[in-house]
Structure formats: C-alpha cells, structure tokens
C-alpha cells in the first residue's frame, strides 16, 4: 500500500535555509545540503527546496545547492521558486531535481503547466498553491483565494477552481499551503486540504501550520492529504521525522519503515 510521505521543506534564501512566519520575519536555519543529508538519514521520504528569493541572481546558487544535494542524497528532490519557463525547468532538472514546483509563474501563465508536463511528464510538475481563507459567515462553505509572490499579492482566483484547472493542464501533484497557518504552529487547514483532495485525482501535499506529530495525522485523516510537509519543527529539532512517523503508524496510517519506526 502506498505510504503517506513526510517531507521536510527547506526554504532557501541567498544560499541558506531560512524560516519565517506567514512568509516574513526570516531566521537562518542552516546549510541546505547539510540539512538535506540529515533529513535523508533520519527517514525523510522526499525533500523540497523552495528558493524564496527566486531572483535571477540567486539562480546559480540554487542550482549549485541542488547539485550538491543530489550527489549525496538518494531520495526524491523537488525544487521550486521562480521557474518561469520549460527551459528554466530543464536547468533545475539537470542539476539533479526530480520534480519542479511552479507557483506564481503558473498563475500568470497557466499554459506553462502544459508546456512543462508535455516536455518532462506530469510527474515532474508540481503546482504549488498558496491559499488564504476568505472571510465568510459560518453558514456558508469556506472559500480560499490564491495568493502569489510569497503572499504579497492577491489574485482573485478561487483556490479550489485553480487546483482543478492546474491538474487539467497537466500538474502531477499539488503542494497546498495555507498562508494563514504558515509558520504559526496552529495546525494544518484541513478544510482546505480536504476540499482540494476531493476535487483532484493527483496526490496533495499538505503544507502550513504543523506544530507536532498529531497535526500530520490530522492532515492525512481529516485533510485527506497524501503527503505532509513541514519546515521549522524539523529544523529546530522540536520533533524528529521518526517521531512523526511513529505517531502516524500508531494512528494506523501506512508509513515507510525508518530507523526506529516499524512500517
């Protein structure tokens, strides 16, 4: 049976891993390949690098980090941040990434999803959706709006409509981040996750809000997520990957056997 994945996320700025709250107030968390190797040893099922500076100047640094990581870490690596064309995606894949995550560029130019999927296969195209909950009264279904540029810009796009469209266009996986929860340790937005997962056939990666192992269980059980991503709780060693997997296994969720965790 397919395992539910635990994915540490490394937000990279100027060659360092950083972490913020609601996408701002960044703190330094370490060297990307060093952290990546540690997580691979500790049982991470996959790794995500997000270049949050995503400027043209930071690209060579990022590609070098991807190269260094891919040389030593034999688990899947997804890289995102500022990829605007199939050619740029090729460069990231050639550096050693297995998948590329696109976000703002896909919202601005939805055709990019199809161009990348046709050239490299849907399995290599992850569409990242940053969603912010819209105010609504309790009697109505909740709604979310897509935000881009690291949360600095609203789009007016309904997040659920966009999720369905991104998959129709060729996305092989969705990385769904609740901007409201990001870095807050308030738990995942399970309403958002379940609403997305119920509308698309592709795997959904939950992101934004993890405080502890119980949140991972809830993201899968209630949110119907296939994979769960977190950053600061791992970087700061508040919780280990093994601890998270033990909690998931204890809740009856299938996880990959890792040191200290029976499958």
């Amino acid at each position: 049976m397919l395992r539910r994945r635990v994915i540490p996320c490394l937000d990279v700025a100027d060659g360092r891993v950083v972490k913020g709250v609601r996408f701002v107030d960044l703190t330094d968390e370490g060297d990307p390949p060093t952290l990546a190797a540690r997580y691979a040893d500790e049982g991470a099922d996959e790794l995500v690098f997000l270049d949050i500076t995503a400027s043209v100047e930071s690209r060579p640094t990022l590609l070098e980090i991807v190269r260094r990581t891919a040389r030593e870490t034999f688990i899947p690596l997804t890289v995102g941040g500022g990829v605007r064309s199939a050619t740029e995606m090729r460069d990231v894949l050639r550096a050693g990434a297995d998948k590329v995550s696109i976000n703002t560029a896909a919202v601005r130019d939805p055709g990019l999803i199809g161009r990348c999927a046709r050239r490299f296969g849907s399995q290599a195209v992850v569409v990242a959706i940053d969603a912010r909950r819209l105010p609504s009264d309790v009697a109505r279904e909740p709604r979310w709006e897509v935000v881009v540029r690291g949360g600095r810009e609203t789009t007016g796009l309904d997040a659920l409509d966009w999720a369905v469209r991104a998959v129709d266009l060729g996305a092989g996986e969705l990385l769904v981040t609740s901007m409201d929860r990001d870095g807050t340790r308030a738990g995942f937005d399970t309403d958002l996750l379940r609403a997305v997962a119920g509308r698309v056939p592709v795997p959904v990666i939950a992101s934004g809000g993890a405080a502890g192992p119980a949140d991972f269980v809830t993201a899968v059980r209630v949110g119907q997520a296939d994979a769960v991503l977190a950053a600061s709780i791992f970087h700061r060693r508040q919780h280990s990957i093994a601890e998270v997997k033990r909690a998931m296994a204890a809740a009856g969720l299938p996880v990959r056997a890792t040191a200290g965790v029976a499958a």
Binding site: R94, D98, F120, V202, D226
Partner: protein, 227 residues
C-alpha cells in the same frame, strides 16, 4: 569485466540522468551517457532510464539507431536494466499514446486502473513472487519510490515467467520483471535511498557475474525497434 563496471546510460532526451549517474557512482560503477549505438558497445551493463511518454522516447531511440542496438544487445545475452519508462519500452505497445515499443516482453503498458490517486507517487512495497539476484539481501517487502501512471503487463504463455515483483495501488500491478539477461524495475532505485543503492549494487554484481549462465532473450522480430 573491468574492475569498475561501466554502465552505459541511454540518453534519449527524457528524464533526469543526474540521479541515475550519481547512484551508479555511489555503488562503485562508472556511468557513461550514450546517445548513439557506438557509445554502448563496450559497456558491462546497458541501462535505459526515463520518465514520460513512450512515443517521443521511441522516436528518439529509432532516429539514433539505439532502438535496434538495444534489442541487439538483449538478444546477444548482455546484461540489461530498464527503469520506469525504460522498462515499459520493453513491452510491445503502450496504451499511454499508442506507441509501438521494443517488443522484448509480450504484453502492453496499461494505465493503473482503480488507483486512489494518479500518478502513483511515493513509497510502496514490492512483494517478491520469486527470488532474483537483483533483490539479494533485501527484505521481501521493501519500500521503494514510484512515480508513474502506467505499468507494463506481461501477457501470453510466457508472461508469468517475467514477473518477479508486484505492487498494489488500487489493484496489483507488475513492478519488477526479470528473465535471462534482462531486469526491469517500475520504481526508481536511484531515488529509493539505501534500499535502492543496494539493488543497483546487486544489479552491477549480477551484470558482472560470468557464472550467471545467461542466454539472450529471444525477441523474434525487430519490427518494434524499426517501425
């Protein structure tokens, strides 16, 4: 075989060769990227990796002459490893885009039906139906990394003889095949952590074992390679 086994990795413009190359190096081999038939000639193992669709892959392989070279290699009894699309290309046809493929294994590449999610992405178990040197020293149900929506289905009277391992995602599909000098893996050993590196090391050892007593898999017709 030379002291450091040389693995010819076929490059037909699809997929990420970097992870394959690095995994080969990490397991003590030398990776040589091959774009034309001459570049595979003196290798110890021929590896066809890949992700993506069959039709564009076959077009590139036929144009470069590698399609015929791959079939010739297999018929000559030399060690071959196909990974993901590189395994699917061994079948007769792919339902993904109707492509006619190499025709080494009887049967077609079919879409995973009844799957709870597609693509099938993540770690899943391979349940071994029989032992094979590629899986030596591994538990019977190790987790390995998959990324695909289609899988080859061996068919006909010889079909079962190919099956080494199966995996469940909605329903069961064949995730590892082997016969004589051919091994095919639907998952990605190069991305399956320590288990994957062990598997690759096993395949390198198997490829270099003169006592393997391999004979070439009879392909019968080169139509798929030439079409």
């Amino acid at each position: 075989m030379s002291a450091v086994p040389v693995v010819a990795v076929v490059d037909y413009g699809a997929g990420n060769l970097v992870s394959i190359e690095q995994a080969i190096v990490a397991t003590g081999g030398e990776a040589r990227i091959a774009r034309v038939p001459d570049e595979i000639a003196d290798a110890d193992l021929l590896l066809v990796p890949g992700v993506g669709a069959a039709a564009p892959a076959m077009r590139r392989l036929r144009r470069s002459g590698l399609a015929e070279a791959i079939v010739g290699w297999i018929e000559a009894g030399r060690p071959f490893l196909g990974i993901c699309l590189g395994l699917q290309l061994l079948f007769e046809r792919s339902d993904e885009d109707g492509a006619r493929t190499l025709g080494v294994i009887p049967g077609r590449t079919v879409r995973l039906e009844d799957a709870p999610t597609l693509p099938h992405i993540g770690w899943n178990q391979v349940e071994l139906r029989r032992s094979h040197p590629a899986f030596a020293g591994l538990e019977a149900d190790e987790d390995v990394y998959f990324v695909h929506s289609y899988a080859g289905a061996p068919a006909g009277p010889d079909g079962d003889a190919w099956v080494v391992g199966e995996t469940e995602h909605g329903r069961r599909f064949v995730s590892a095949v082997a016969r004589a000098n051919v091994v095919g893996l639907q998952f990605h050993p190069e991305r399956s952590g320590r288990v994957g590196l062990r598997l690759l090391a096993n395949v390198l050892a198997w490829a270099g074992d003169p006592g393997g007593g391999r004979i070439g898999v009879g392909v019968g017709s080169l139509d798929g390679a030439r079409a």
